[in-house]
Subunit: 505 residues, 2 copies
Amino acid sequence: MELKVQRIQIKAGKYKVVLNTEDARELGVRGGDRVQLKDHSYLTAIVETGDLIEKGTVGVYQECCDKLGDVCPLTLNILPTSRPSSVGFIKKMMDHQKLTQEEIYQIVQDVVRDNLTEIEMSAFVTSSYIHGMTSDEIEWLTRAMIDTGEKIEFNTHPIMDKHSIGGVPGNKISLLVVPIVAANGLLIPKTSSRAITGAAGTADLMEVLAPVEFSADEIKSITEKVGGVIAWGGATNIAPADDKLIRAEYPLSIDPRCQLLASIMAKKGAVGADCVVIDIPVGSGTKVPTVEEGKKLARDLIELGERLGMSVECAMTYGASPVGRTIGPAIEVREALKVLETMQGPNSLIEKSTALAGILLEMGGVAAKGRGKELAMETLRSGKALNKLKEIIEAQGGNPNITHTDIKPGEHRAELASPADGYVIEFDNKRIVEIARIAGAPIDKGAGVWIHRKKGETVKKGEPLITIFADKSWKLTNALKSAEKMSPIIVEGMLLERVQTFKVF
Amino acid sequence: MELKVQRIQIKAGKYKVVLNTEDARELGVRGGDRVQLKDHSYLTAIVETGDLIEKGTVGVYQECCDKLGDVCPLTLNILPTSRPSSVGFIKKMMDHQKLTQEEIYQIVQDVVRDNLTEIEMSAFVTSSYIHGMTSDEIEWLTRAMIDTGEKIEFNTHPIMDKHSIGGVPGNKISLLVVPIVAANGLLIPKTSSRAITGAAGTADLMEVLAPVEFSADEIKSITEKVGGVIAWGGATNIAPADDKLIRAEYPLSIDPRCQLLASIMAKKGAVGADCVVIDIPVGSGTKVPTVEEGKKLARDLIELGERLGMSVECAMTYGASPVGRTIGPAIEVREALKVLETMQGPNSLIEKSTALAGILLEMGGVAAKGRGKELAMETLRSGKALNKLKEIIEAQGGNPNITHTDIKPGEHRAELASPADGYVIEFDNKRIVEIARIAGAPIDKGAGVWIHRKKGETVKKGEPLITIFADKSWKLTNALKSAEKMSPIIVEGMLLERVQTFKVF
């Protein structure tokens, strides 16, 4: 069917066209069906139908226009065509049938190429969530995620890497682990994420110190030059399927185990990692509530690593309480830098960073078994880690002379004071993160929450429990209001709720 | 956040707005999150993000514009807000937890109000498909589907109704069943569907004879006037959730059992049916491959009917072969009318129609137990059914004097000839329907396939197996090409494939 082209200057996120409802009926297609745009290297597009597009006209979204080239044609010959074969494979998953390696590759490739509709993407992640995948399938999924993106191949080995499962606020340890490892002569090309539901991802943190958006080639050359990098994975084309799957999972608040495993290991595999340490925070509020489940996850990660030719070690860490006392980009970086400069800072941060760095030092063969932590601590104490971080900052294009006092929290701040004398008996990680986000984190770098009292600590009435920082005063107001309405910290003896009687005498 | 409004004259199918990616980050929302459009009766919209919309601007799709009223405001105050609670209930379904009646009602209401994104809709239908629902949940789903739409309440009872599970081509029996039942003094307000993947739904057929788009009130008054109606359900607001769920299921080629049950019974419940006969075609190619499964489906339908206060009887029918010899709107109607006028026509059509009508005559108390079919046959033979159909056609605004010879198949026609002498050993229903659709059915009324030979019948080389009809010559060409490429009918002794050797001597 020959139709007049009407350009729609909106990105649909897919190759999409809109047909008038009558034209669609005439063609025998419905919303979600596919059509071929003939005479144009057989571009396949997803159909949307509507009445606002005139009969005889096809609305062409931006992505299709781009693909059709500079001179978008005046008319297009539209033909119905079948759905991608991967839709049938997703149906197999729904029916709990095992997939072959080729079928999984096809699905991942169509995910990366934006060939699947949101309905189909959702059916895929929902089925993955409900049925799970076999170890074979998870391996194939991981390999497909690696192979459908860019890969880095280093000439020197071993390549070290580190990942945190997440779910614990204030987890700024990569800022210490990467320079400690690199300072000992090992290569560690760390790609990391920005916060999606958290207050600051490692990429958000590093961005306070230097640019984080690099191509795979740049990540390779920076790593070869200074031993390490802390880059935002989203700027690369490494395992691009991952982001697209997350976009379908996020609205459903799900994180299917098979995709969690594949997502982690694909990113490690794509940078050519040989030795990987994985931090599994355990405790209420994290992704892994019990030690039992942590062990299960660790076994799965180690097995998947073996299948892919990577050595994996997992460390279960205490995740019920934040790491350090800061939540939010600038103040987290300030806290981490201060440790690197002075060894002064929260024990939870120093202990966790050196423990994980130590594992990598042992895996990389630069520390004897059982002596990694000691070497990590020494690397920190001697200032070698600080110097290495400065080199990394400089290589990424930041100012290497920055010190922790240069990093200023947001100019607007407010304290939440304790309403009573007593112990902190409840500490709500999720609420702390929520407040930091309302205050503007992670997008406003100065926004965040400084924690004065953690669980079990004593406080006097009127003393601050937290300080909220914000770059914008209206965000501070909202964050404080939220904190006052439902306090993230409960002090023993604190009045939780006042139930009034309206007795008439 | 106060943003300048940019109207987008496209229907998104939902209340949707587009935010610039940076504005979205600033607000802390991502694609699929919700925002409130403040100062405008707190309209909630789904967020899409993109770079083609300028920073400081919000793109507002047609549905939101419509809701905001004639004078779309110049700026809007946008606030993040939480997802509808039904998204949490869908998550419960994914986790295989039972839902309460209120939770199911909430989901159905949000489906009807277009409050759910495609990702959420797909998660709902995928979970329903994988986990199924309990009998309680199916009852609640059905009730919710009835209560979120229009209902018809008749003063006279009983109200009769009929449904076919579908999957068998050429099933034009409603054109006979409805007038037979109505001619015997019973009320039968039949709402029916248009073909989605088939060649002709009952609504597509009736439309050859008369208009089929009526409101619930009109359906009621036509039924009260002449005893019956054959209307398109899609024009009413009866059980509107059904269509919206189908729109999410169609792209996945799934028909979750719980939704199949609820869909059928909600439409019957909404028109106030007391007695319902359900035709369950059984056989390869239908929705119910075995008698065992047919019985299970029948039990489920009867139980659900009991819960809703309806008498339900099911008839398992032969579904492996088309009913009659015609597929496609005009020629099916011609075949049905000829039976009504002359009692001449395929046995499969006459037997099936009178059997099902007979069950309704017994259920409605106008025929003694075991005598319904006899009465149905008599009603047909006497011409009473034909007269009743003419009354119905007239009441729906069609020409009551139409006869079967007035109905012309498409002017373009081609035959597929048998390549050999022999028996028909394979007959592919799905291929026949596909060919009819390529020829233009159901949208081109004259398009379709006339079947000359069914399974087991003999044919001589060169005699026609099928005749293809089309309103448009290019569609005929495509249909014939498709039929020749893969024949829907295999004759014994026919060469299936020629495997050539390229032996060099």
